[in-house]
Assembly symmetry: C2
Homo-oligomer: 339 residues x 2
């Protein structure tokens, strides 16, 4: 489950596993109700739990900043910050809420190989459970007694919603350009990853240039993550991805390889549009080949890899430490993941 | 638009009209985006703006509590509290979000005679705009630098979501009892009205028993409001209500007069269930007559009126003032309204 590659400092992996369990426990203790019917729906949210990328960004960023103040001890001496853990649980709840509402928007039946909440219990219950998750996220962050955290989270969810709305406004827009695509991804995905790192840094008392550097690391990792997600929607192994391929196209969402392919030349554009008129996944293999021969898949991978390089450069604002190395590994794993 | 009856102190009505304009201006200044496509959707929210009951509960409760501390001046000497206004804008945004998501849940096409957001722009845009409204509500209340306000709002939205989920779990439940109906209404409608009054009282430094009394006033007014809403769905003038009658039944929602009618006797139960098998509004007139002859309409009105009486008794915790009189008038207007 962890995004950390084997070279990662063993102590960090162990520490993180413990911290993530604590975050999960916090999340479970926040998401309860005195109504049985609500608890039953909460049970279905389990299927949405994934890699915990955003809680990891919070926890490892905080640890990397703490190395600014003191030499990094080994393993058990790392102190546990209640505020970092709460922020980690909050961003995961916000993320879960966006997944639940996204599945309603996309009429998705499967996520990670399991039925979505809307497929199981209808759109109405899914809309309301998304609201319930958002509301609990705000409840938990307003309990922190540091109003700037709740304000930053709410400001970020404003931006996430705008990204989703911009994406909706561009459904079936075959003229969508790369800059608007990146604007959508910056808002709907990268803004939350960025605020994870920024809040963790501020909570550890990092100087402003370190907060800025970590925020830009998080946003770059977020965009690269989304581009990789979009590539997996075209190229992934269906069993591993846990949903049918080509869903973005089916829902009229143009992604980076498609935008590149459509701009490749008149003949290529016509071929790609022709293939997209078929219902996926019938033509998906041919589409993969066309985008491969246009260099569009390589182009999208290249954009993601350059973002990861830039993200790692930003980490230069931090002293060398096992936690900084773990942030580098997390960035790398985002573009190499197969799931 | 104001809920205040003519007998109300003229100065309060004038003061309130000015304050509500300021709340509207605050709401409009919060609900903006740098994206044109988002601003266009925000434009459609205008159709959802109504009587501003919840902002009125905040403002008049605050005013009634301020009479505890000093003799109530006339008109222009009443000071304007920025925090009260922000809270008033926050609760209205939360309310608007629930309306937008409710219309998705209910597949409603019309609200107050105008097309709903889901009818105009699809469910996807409506789900996301509801999230956008909720997110902006939390942003505005977290900017208040009084974390207890944001926490109370988020705790209330937790409860509102639970009420909606309990209602969903009881769709098409012909065995729904009065206590579960009241539990739904307490959560989905009354909790927000209650917190309006409580927060206003706390902001004015009211002693705990006044906060409790005003909270119970707000909750009773909220339940009575919902019962009246449910009666209007069965009995209203379609032109005035601005939507087709019998929508609750169409969506499998049992309301108080129906619950009473179904429990009236075996013959009545059979007659009512038979009438409900027809698509409304075909059988709605007959249903009205049956519920009238069972005494179910009078019963529901009686429950609402007793709640209003109890709400007014709770106001005894406050000194006599023009603002307290206005709270009494607002309570009365909730059960006498035709819209």
């Amino acid at each position: 489950m962890l995004l950390l590659a084997p070279r990662s400092n063993h102590c960090i992996s162990q520490w993180l596993a413990g911290e993530l369990s604590a975050v999960s426990a916090l999340l479970e203790s926040e998401l309860v109700s005195d109504l049985d019917c609500v608890n039953e729906l909460i049970g279905h949210i389990e299927a949405y739990r994934g890699k915990m990328l955003r809680p990891m960004l919070v926890l490892v960023s905080g640890l990397a900043v703490s190395a600014l103040h003191r030499p990094l001890g080994e393993g058990p001496t790392w102190r546990r910050s209640e505020a970092q853990q709460k922020v980690a649980a909050v961003v995961e709840m916000v993320h879960l809420a966006t997944l639940v509402h996204d599945d309603v928007l996309d009429e998705a039946d499967l996520r990670r190989g399991r039925p979505t909440l809307n497929a199981l219990r209808g759109n109405e219950a899914a809309v309301m459970m998304g609201d319930f998750l958002l509301s609990h996220a705000y409840r938990l962050c307003s309990s922190l007694e540091r109003p700037w955290i709740a304000e930053a989270i709410a400001q970020t969810t404003n931006i996430v919603c705008e990204g989703e709305l911009l994406q909706l406004a561009n459904r079936d827009n075959w003229e969508l350009g790369e800059s608007t695509y990146l604007e959508i991804v910056q808002r709907k995905t990268a803004s939350l990853c960025g605020v994870c790192c920024e809040l963790a840094a501020r909570l550890e008392g990092a100087p402003e240039q370190v907060v800025t550097a970590l925020g830009s690391y998080g946003r770059d990792v977020g965009v690269a993550f989304q581009i990789t997600d979009d590539l997996l929607d075209l190229l992934g192994n269906e069993d591993a991805v846990g949903k049918s391929l080509g869903r973005d196209l089916l829902k009229g969402k143009l992604t980076l390889p498609m935008i590149h392919g459509l701009a490749c030349g008149a003949a290529e554009r016509e071929a790609i549009m022709g293939l997209c008129n078929d219902q996926p996944p019938a033509a998906i293999r041919q589409l993969q080949q066309t985008l491969e021969s246009c260099g569009s898949l390589a182009y999208a991978r290249g954009v993601a890899e350059r973002l990861i390089d830039r993200a790692k450069v930003a980490l230069g604002a931090l002293p060398a430490s096992a936690a900084r190395e773990a942030l580098e590994d997390m960035a790398d794993s985002v573009v190499t993941r197969r799931l």
